[in-house]
Symmetry: C2
Subunit: 387 residues, 2 copies
C-alpha cells in the first residue's frame, strides 16, 4: 500500500491490452469520477485478477471499498493494481486480513516499503529520485541525488527543493503500449490534475514506451503519478518535467537490467529517418528481434541480423544510404560491409551495454529503444512460471 | 543444383526484406527477363551474400553466368539463392570449382540430392509429393503418396498421373512475408507462366505465410516453382492447386517441426473474426508470443498468456464473447475462466501438437498460424551462430 496526503492529485496510464484486468478498469473509473484525485494505491502480487469476469471485478471492488474504509477516504480515492497469473481469482480472505494493519502502518509519502513490497521476480529494488529547486523562477536545474531516499513527499531537510521519486517493478511481460509493469512517480510539487497527467504522458513516452523484454504487453501494467497538493510547492514546469523524464528513464533502464534472465543490455539508436514513425519502427524492430537478442547474449558480432531486422521493419529504406555502427565501429555503410576484423567487432558486442546506431540517411528524425539479450535462463523461467 | 528440362516454366516469391540478398535481386531480374522460364536453380549455404554491396552482386552474377555456360542455357534461365551469414562475401573459388561437376552429375527433375544438399541446421530431409490424375475432366482427386520419391518430373510408372513434388530447408529466421526459407515445388503438369505463378501464390499464402519460428523475416528466403513444360500433361487446375497447397503445407509443417531447438508444435486457429485481417492478426500474435511459446515448451497450462496476446494483437475484441479452447478443453468463455482442474489442463498442454482455438464471436472469418515452443536450445544455438 502506498498512501499519499488526503486530496493528492493523481494521474495514470494503463495497459492497452483488451483483456485489461479488473483493477485497471476500476482505477480508470475512480480517476475519472474523482476528476484526478486519489490518496491510496494498493497492489497485490501472485494473481493478476485478469480474465476473471464479473467475480474478479467484484473482488477488486470489495478490496477498494475496504481500503477506503480503513484509510478513511472516499472509495474513488483508492487506486489499485494486481500482478501475477492471469485467469485466477484473488485469495480474498488473505488480502482482506492484511488491509487494516497495512492502513495503520503505512506512512503517507513513504515509498521504500512500497517499492520492496511490489517486487516479484525482481532481484533489485527499483527507486529513483530527482530534486528540483522550488519557485517558478528557479534556474538551478535538476539535481541528481546520490542515494535513493525513503520519502516521496516529506522533505524537511531541503525545504526549498521539490522531490520527484519513482518506484517500479518488472520484470517479465515488458513491452510498450502501455504495458510495461507497475510504476509510481510521486512529487511534492503543486500541480493541477491536467498538469500532472500531461507530465506523466511525456515521461512515459520517453521511457517505459521505449523498452521491451519480451514483446508481451500485459493485461495489468500501469504507471501512476501523484502530486501531494496540500503541502505542494510551485516549481518550474520545464524543470519538473525533466525530473519526471529522468526518473522514468532511470526506472525503465532498471527494469531492463533486471529483466528475467538478464545478462546484457543494448540500446538501438536511429537517426536520419524520414519520419518519427520510421525512426521508432526501425529502433523497435531491431531491439526486439529474437535473433539480434540472441547474438547480443552470445557477444556474437552477427551484425547482419541487425540489418535484416531493419530491412523487415516495414520502413522504406535505401540500403545504399544506411550506416550501421556498433559502439565505436562502423560495420556497414555505402551499401557494403566495412572491413573490420571479427575479433575487434566481437569486443564491441561483449561490452556490458552495447550501443547500436543506425543512420538511415533519409531525414532528420531520431528515436531509440532499449532491450536486453535473450537468454536460456529467460526461457527456463517462463516455461515453468505457473507450475 | 536443381535442373529442370530446358524451357521449363518458373515462378518465385521472394523475401520482402529490404536488405534482400544479391541472388534474390538477380533471380527476380532473370524471371522478369525470361517472362517466366528457367531451367536451373543453384543454391549455396554458409554465406547469404546479403549486405555485400556491388561486389556481392557481381559475385552472384559471375556464378549465374558460369552455371549457364556449364549447363548450356541462357543466363536468364538460371535462378539462384544463398543461405547463411549476412555481410560475408562468397568463397568464389570453392564455388566455381564445383559448378562444372555439378552440371554434369545433375539429372533433370531429380529432387532428392537437391533436398539433401540444401540442408543447413535442418536435421531431417524435407520432401513432399502428391499425385494428380491427368486430363482436365479428372475427378479422381489428390492422392497422397506413401513415400517421398526422388523424381519431380519423370513419371514413367504412372503415365496418367501428374506429380507435384516439393523440397524445403529451414530452420531459423522463419516468419512470413515472404521470408521463410528456401523451398521449391516442381510439377510435370503443363502450365503457362502466369498459371504457375498464381498457383504458387495461393499455396504460399496458406503455408509458408502461416508459420513462424523466430519472427525474423530473412534477407534471402524464397520459394521457387517449376513446371516442366515440354513433357507436361494437362491437369484439372483445381486438383493441381490443391496438390500445390498440400505439398506447401506439409513442407511448412516440416520446417516448424524441425525448427532450431524444436520440442513441440502448436497451432492457433481463430474463427468468428469480424474480418480476415482480424483473424490472421489474432492467430499470428498468439502463435508468436514469446511467453505463450515458453509456456508451450514447459507444458505449462498458462492460458492467460494466450488471452493476453490476443488482447494486445491490435484487433478490436469483446472479451465477453471470446471463447478459448485448448485441445478438448474450454478454458475461457462468457468473460470468465472455465472451472478446469490444473492437471487436466496441463495434460492438453503436454501433447505433442497443441491445438489452440479462439472463437471471437464477432463474424465469420477464420485463419490459423503454426509455431513451436521456444526453447533454451534455440537461444543457445542462436547465441553462438557466427562464432
Amino acid at each position: 500500500m502506498l498512501r499519499m496526503d488526503d486530496g493528492a492529485v493523481a494521474a495514470a496510464m494503463f495497459t492497452t491490452n483488451q483483456f485489461a484486468a479488473a483493477p485497471v478498469h476500476i482505477s480508470r473509473d475512480h480517476l475519472r469520477n474523482s476528476c484526478g484525485y486519489a490518496s491510496v494505491l494498493i497492489v497485490n502480487s501472485g494473481c493478476a485478477n485478469a480474465a476473471t469476469g464479473p467475480h474478479g471485478y467484484a473482488d477488486a471492488q470489495t478490496i477498494g471499498d475496504y481500503v477506503a474504509q480503513e484509510c478513511g477516504c472516499a472509495p474513488d480515492a483508492v487506486l489499485m493494481n494486481s500482478t501475477g497469473i492471469i485467469g485466477k481469482r484473488l485469495p480474498m480472505t488473505n488480502i482482506q486480513k492484511v488491509i487494516a494493519p497495512l492502513a495503520q502502518q503505512c506512512v503517507p509519502g513513504s515509498a521504500e516499503p512500497f517499492a520492496r513490497a511490489i517486487m516479484t521476480t525482481d532481484t533489485r529494488l527499483k527507486m529513483s529520485t530527482r530534486l528540483v529547486a522550488s519557485g517558478v523562477t528557479s534556474g538551478a536545474g535538476t539535481t541528481r541525488t546520490t542515494q535513493a531516499t525513503a520519502n516521496t513527499t516529506q522533505n524537511p531537510a531541503h525545504s526549498k527543493q521539490i522531490r520527484v521519486t519513482g518506484v517500479a517493478k518488472g520484470a517479465g511481460m515488458i513491452h510498450p503500449n502501455m504495458a510495461t509493469m507497475i510504476a509510481v512517480i510521486a512529487t511534492d510539487a503543486a500541480l493541477e490534475p491536467h498538469e500532472l497527467n500531461a507530465m506523466l504522458r511525456v515521461a512515459v513516452e520517453q521511457s517505459f514506451h521505449r523498452i521491451s523484454i519480451d514483446g508481451d504487453t500485459s493485461t495489468n501494467d500501469s504507471v501512476f503519478a501523484f502530486a501531494s497538493a496540500q503541502r505542494g510547492a510551485a516549481a518550474d514546469h520545464g524543470e519538473l518535467q525533466r525530473a519526471f523524464c529522468e526518473v522514468a528513464r532511470e526506472l525503465a533502464r532498471m527494469i531492463v537490467c533486471d529483466g528475467e534472465g538478464f545478462t546484457r543490455a543494448f540500446e538501438v539508436r536511429v537517426r536520419g529517418a524520414a519520419s518519427a514513425t520510421d525512426a521508432l519502427d526501425v529502433a523497435k524492430t531491431v531491439a526486439t528481434s529474437m535473433l539480434v537478442r540472441c547474438a547480443i547474449t552470445g557477444g556474437d558480432p552477427n551484425w547482419g541480423r541487425m540489418l535484416a531486422a531493419a530491412g523487415r521493419s516495414g520502413t522504406r529504406l535505401n540500403p545504399e544510404r544506411v550506416c550501421l555502427r556498433v559502439g565505436e565501429l562502423v560495420l556497414f555503410h555505402n551499401g557494403q560491409p566495412a572491413d573490420i576484423r571479427k575479433d575487434i567487432a566481437q569486443a564491441e558486442f561483449c561490452k556490458p551495454n552495447v550501443i547500436v546506431e543506425f543512420d538511415l540517411g533519409q531525414g532528420d528524425h531520431d528515436d531509440f529503444f532499449i532491450s536486453s539479450g535473450l537468454t536460456q535462463e529467460y526461457v527456463k523461467l517462463n516455461s515453468e512460471y505457473s507450475t
